[in-house]
């Protein structure tokens, strides 16, 4: 549990640091690391324990005790799929913005802030 907590903390810290940089290339790495971190939070939200998989054995009618909570696994799968597709879109958008603006510097992507 402690290792997991430290790992998530480190991922969030690095992800946020990268997002706060002015370079858009680092922004995408920040997004990816942050969404990994949050997937790990979802994964561990049912508690971590050494046990068999939550499948009812043949001939039994109940789950064997102790068993892990299967719901976070379903949630994390959904979250991974959504996160993956959003990241794919983000990468394409950043590439296009980089091409159009011809800069990697967020502070110079400011045409929408000024009146023409």
């Amino acid at each position: 549990m402690l290792v997991m907590a430290l790992l998530i903390g480190a991922l969030v810290a690095i992800g946020l640091y990268l997002m706060l940089r002015r370079s858009v290339a680092k922004l995408i790495f920040g997004i990816v690391l942050l969404s990994h971190a949050v997937n790990l939070i979802v994964f561990s939200s049912g508690g971590l324990l050494h046990a068999s998989s939550p499948v009812i054995e043949a001939g039994e009618t109940m789950l064997a005790q102790p068993h892990p909570d299967p719901l976070p696994h379903a949630l994390v799968l959904t979250a991974i799929v959504i996160g993956f597709s959003v990241q794919a879109f983000a990468i394409v958008l950043i590439k296009r913005a980089h091409q159009e603006a011809e800069t990697d510097d967020f502070d110079r992507m400011d045409t929408t802030e000024r009146d023409v």
């Binding site: 997004i31 959003v86 958008l93 159009e100």
Partner: protein, 508 residues
């Protein structure tokens, strides 16, 4: 499948079907438009049916796949959900028809209609779901469609604005997902009705669990980013003026309001164990949002950017109604949301017509529209004055009901702030009026664009006229909407009907 489950599912199924049909017909221009219009009209019809059904029974629910709550995914509609679905479907229809006049053929080919329907599906799903993880999924559906809609066309401004929009909203989603996971680990359920029972029981003598308060604040940040409250609104004015008018109008009407809806759900159904602290925080946020939005608008020089900042300012009034946490306050907030969606959508549509007939959106480059387009000038005044809260338009009653609710609980400061912000809003609207309509057209102004054809003109002006009529009718006969809002607020403060609909007899 009985009619209750049908009416709850259809607001999601109809846009999904329309999205698939428009995707299939992307090479058949007429068929695509026909499918799209059928989708908007069908959705509007179903949402009227939903409101009538909810009025008859209080609250409806359906368990998807027959898994009983709290284990399965629940769709539930109380009066607030039904009203929100109704008004968002109406905006879908109005903006959709406008978009037929506004959106170029290439955008239609690359999936404008499909994404528009997916957006409506996400919005309706978020209003109807009774499960907090499912709410996250609907938020994502809505966001992904909106990311593509913002950037479709690929101009530099769209890409830059879209990048900022996407980054901050992704951060919001990440925080939302993290807080859902933490909430599950603390309570063991994701069903919102079940969460209400767990969270309202779990407060001991020593006050609320600090971890639960942390989760409440995390959710406040996540929904706050989506609702564009102070100080998290920066993504909105930087991106909303970049896409075509029809797209920014539907965004302006619906997207931030889904965030406000989520805030209302979270802070009436889930986190009511520490009202003195959380709702005090909300009140501060509300005041600062109003002030910063309206001050931001004052220095802007373009119609659409002024309107974008006013979205932020108006969100403050809705959060204020929630923060008061009385039946009157929530009724005011609900009334405000419904009025605001109609008025703001209409203002963006009019802003689009100004840009189109004047040739530019910057106030320094246009003028003299009073002489050339007197009807448009009159149409602008109705939602413009309504936004500022001038009687007898709908905005007056909306502002009146939130401010009255704040005075009932001795909130003198917030009432004064709300009134002052109303005055500054009037200033902004008058600025647009005098610059775009009243002053003579500048010599070196924008070139006069090609006039609209008759069919385009009907499609562009029709929705604007209808929405302006709605504003006037609400203003003259506010009783119906006020009753609806009061009934919705009553249900929010005493969610018995909601819990009963979701969890069945066991609750009572």
């Amino acid at each position: 499948m009985n009619s209750i489950s049908l009416v709850l599912i259809l607001p999601v199924v109809i846009p999904l079907t329309a999205a698939l049909l428009t995707l299939a017909f992307r090479n058949h221009y007429r068929a695509q438009r026909a499918a799209s219009v059928a989708g908007w009209a069908g959705l509007f019809g179903v949402s009227v049916w939903l409101l009538l059904a909810v009025q008859g029974q209080g609250a409806l629910s359906v368990q998807i796949g027959g898994w009983p709550a709290p284990h399965g995914i629940t769709f539930v509609a109380d009066r607030l959900s039904a009203l929100m679905v109704l008004v968002s479907s109406a905006m879908g229809l109005a903006v959709g028809l406008y978009s037929l006049a506004d959106i170029c053929r290439a955008r239609e080919h690359y999936g404008h209609h499909t994404l528009f329907h997916v957006l409506l599906m996400g919005v309706n799903g978020a209003f109807l779901t009774g499960d907090i993880f499912n709410l996250y999924v609907w938020f994502e559906v809505m966001l992904i469609a909106s990311f593509v809609l913002v950037t479709l066309g690929g101009q530099r401004g769209q890409l830059e604005g879209g990048l900022k929009y996407m980054t901050l909203n992704l951060l919001g989603s990440i925080i939302f997902l993290a807080s859902v996971a933490l909430l599950y680990s603390q309570t063991g359920t994701l069903n919102m009705a079940q969460l209400h029972l767990v969270l309202s029981q779990g407060v001991g003598d020593g006050g609320a669990d600090p971890l639960l308060l942390t989760i409440a604040v995390l959710l406040l940040i996540a929904f706050g980013i989506k609702a564009a409250v102070f100080p998290l609104f920066m993504w909105l004015p930087t991106s909303y003026h970049t896409p075509p008018t029809a797209v920014s109008a539907i965004f302006a009407g619906l997207l931030t309001k889904v965030g406000v809806y989520a805030l209302i759900r979270a802070f009436t159904l889930l986190f009511t164990f520490e009202v003195g602290w959380t709702h005090e925080l909300l009140l501060w946020i509300a005041g600062l949002t109003m002030v910063s939005g309206v001050l931001g608008a004052m220095v802007q020089g373009s119609v659409r950017r002024i309107l974008s900042f006013h979205i932020v300012s108006q969100i403050g009034y809705m959060v204020m109604g929630l923060a008061l946490f009385t039946v009157a306050g929530l009724a005011g907030a609900v009334f405000y949301i419904l009025h605001h969606i109609v008025v703001k959508t209409n203002l963006f549509l009019i802003g689009g017509i100004i840009t189109r007939t004047g040739g530019a959106s910057e106030l320094s480059r246009i003028g003299g529209l009073m002489r050339t387009r007197p009807v448009l000038a009159g149409l602008f005044l109705i939602p413009g004055l309504s936004l500022a809260g001038i009687p007898p338009l709908s905005g007056f009653w909306a502002k009146f009901s939130v401010i009255k609710a704040s005075l009932e609980v001795d909130g003198w400061v917030i009432a004064a702030v709300a009134l002052a912000v109303g005055l500054l809003t009037l200033f902004s609207m008058m600025k647009i009026w005098s610059e775009a309509f009243w002053k003579p057209a500048p010599e070196d102004g924008a070139p006069a664009p090609a006039p609209m054809t008759a069919a385009t003109g009907v499609l562009a002006y029709g929705p604007v006229v209808v929405l302006a009529l709605v504003t006037v009718v609400i203003g003259l006969y506010p009783a119906w909407l006020a009753d609806q809002a009061a009934a919705a607020a009553q249900q929010l403060m005493q969610p018995d009907a909601y819990l009963h609909a979701v969890l069945g007899e066991a609750v009572r």
